[in-house]
Symmetry: C2
Subunit: 421 residues, 2 copies
Amino acid sequence: MSKELEKELILMGKNARKASQILTLANSDLKNSALEAMAVDIEKNKENILEANIKDVEKAKANNISKSFLDRLILNDERIKSISDGLREIIKIEDPVGQTMSKWDRPNGLNIERVRTPLGVIGVIYESRPNVTADAGALCLKAGNAVILRGGSESYYSSNAIYNSLKNGLIKAGLPEHSIQIIPTTDRNAVGYLLSGLNDSIDVVVPRGGKSLVERVQNEAKVPVFGHLEGICHVYIDKDADVKKAIEVTVNAKMRRTGICGAAETLLIDKENADIFLPKLAEALEGLDCELRGCNNSLKIIKDMIPAEENDWSTEYLDAIISIKIVDGIRGAIDHINSYSTSHTDSIITENIKTADIFLKEIDSAIVMHNASTQFADGGEFGMGAEIGIATGRFHARGPVGVEQLTSFKYVVRGSGQVRP
Amino acid sequence: MSKELEKELILMGKNARKASQILTLANSDLKNSALEAMAVDIEKNKENILEANIKDVEKAKANNISKSFLDRLILNDERIKSISDGLREIIKIEDPVGQTMSKWDRPNGLNIERVRTPLGVIGVIYESRPNVTADAGALCLKAGNAVILRGGSESYYSSNAIYNSLKNGLIKAGLPEHSIQIIPTTDRNAVGYLLSGLNDSIDVVVPRGGKSLVERVQNEAKVPVFGHLEGICHVYIDKDADVKKAIEVTVNAKMRRTGICGAAETLLIDKENADIFLPKLAEALEGLDCELRGCNNSLKIIKDMIPAEENDWSTEYLDAIISIKIVDGIRGAIDHINSYSTSHTDSIITENIKTADIFLKEIDSAIVMHNASTQFADGGEFGMGAEIGIATGRFHARGPVGVEQLTSFKYVVRGSGQVRP
């Protein structure tokens, strides 16, 4: 990396820290007026953003980029509207900064209050979707944080065009323009420096993208990371399951959208009722063109499935493919999940509350569910308004990372002259 | 580091992870019965522990170790009693695991609950105090975590003798003996490997000791760290302070115990009343043999102080020394603290609630106080029962790290067959 770029990144870090000190004290109205000004500016500059996007799309096509990748990259009127709508949704989310989390009195008369504060400076590294520029910038701002964005090189022009509107909104509202910054180069070395060279300036990094991006971030980051590598989500159909619910939930968990992290990848079925349940489940999934890969025991019931291999249990297909395993009851299900889980989201289908409670207690994932589709693993569905991603680590934020999870706290102690004996 | 030691450390990490999976599900009675059995075993083995301690003390004396260091190392009947008393205090702390942190219903009928879970495996690295072996082991266990301890080489025999009682307690209660492990060597390379080689097995590291230890841990750790490097705590005497409170609180904040992280290091005085307040404060502190180091303006009022130099504002004396600066009101105080703070604990003395509120809002430290001594920065004083240390990072735990801060959480979602539209 050039000395100039290093200097520039260091300066961005310092400016972000300064901005964050001002944002810590910014009230909700000010932050919301900036978000509204951003939404207005994006609508006003729609044509410029679309033009920039065409540049990215043409480059991507010339590079023979995949169809799904291209789909994530392309902007149109509707998608730009959804970006400004998204900003206005974030206005509606309650501002967590300054909220009292808990409060208690001590016998000596001291009153102790735990108050939410912003986290500080957040780095967000993302890939092809240009809308992440606005989503991530706005979510961080709402929680009083400064943010340094680094978009994918494929969406460079689109992201920068959207970023311009964010900056205009900040300036219009009178907030520091460095509250949201974007790294002004596609040089890949900049990512490395963001991850390991700016520890004093960045408090947390959020990777948004595929496995290889997240892997790189988790390996190289010298600061905490909010993210998840893979979402190998399981649905376990217990012997006491209601078969209609089991089918509906499984089909939804696998097929509603196959490319999201909360999509189910493995179906576990209790051996007690497998011969009754499995044919019905298989029929429902196959009816939607889902490929089934079964364990040896399940192949005895449904003969025309592809035999599952060992690595099927640890594969995130992100496609219309599901692995199926017959297990020995709730214990077998828990053993399998604990062996292959990526600690994301797992669901049990049963009418037996006791069995459900064992599953909910013993499965150590960010989200455990009873009689519900794993596709509900989402900040919006949890009522958080919006999320910057799902975290599977055990630190600070786990599960959907919304505005509240982008905060820290401090203790406020009020006394009347107390001294410690 | 030898291949054998590396192998042994890897095995310790794996065993800790296995133990933590069992501890996650251990109920409070079981954990408490282990803690009681540990306390009994320590009392029973008092003579062995004291003998081991003599070995450490003799070695330390031969190495010309400092008096304060020696004081922290020495065990006697009373100190051993306080170790077993400490274990019984931890029994009394409420078990956080399984507690519902919040709970809400979604319009689609899903019920979402945020439930506390253990963090996993904790590494604790400490120096001379052998009692940390029991304190840290017990606190981690109470929160359902496995722990790998690494005591200082100076307290090697004492820590191992205490550790034996912890292990006996675990075995007696029927908990995995690897729930608490201690690194069985004084090889310093083992610390490096603990910090950077066992990321898969250790979820968080807690350093307990002096600045050089904490610095090393923060620099080398590949996992999150709960700790603080320094506690440069400030007391600001506002023009609207009650002079009696100001004196009592300042004297206590500086002199109650000078060697703890919550001890005040810098006294800031509003210029408006400095000529009235400063002589009284100086007299009270000097009466207790506290050395005063004053800024230029304060030297005009008290002529016989040592002139403070620039680096006095960023020095943690941990001794009967205080730096004194006259500042321009609350804004001057906030500017000074924000420039030199280590984000630990800062206190304002004033009868003006509005001024206090500005201070409490704008000072970004783990603990901010109004009319109270900074020496209250302590988990016990906060009502947490006991603490493993104070954290000044903005992640996960901030301020005193008690049993509750040693937990994570998961989302439990209960439905009746909901699918996502």
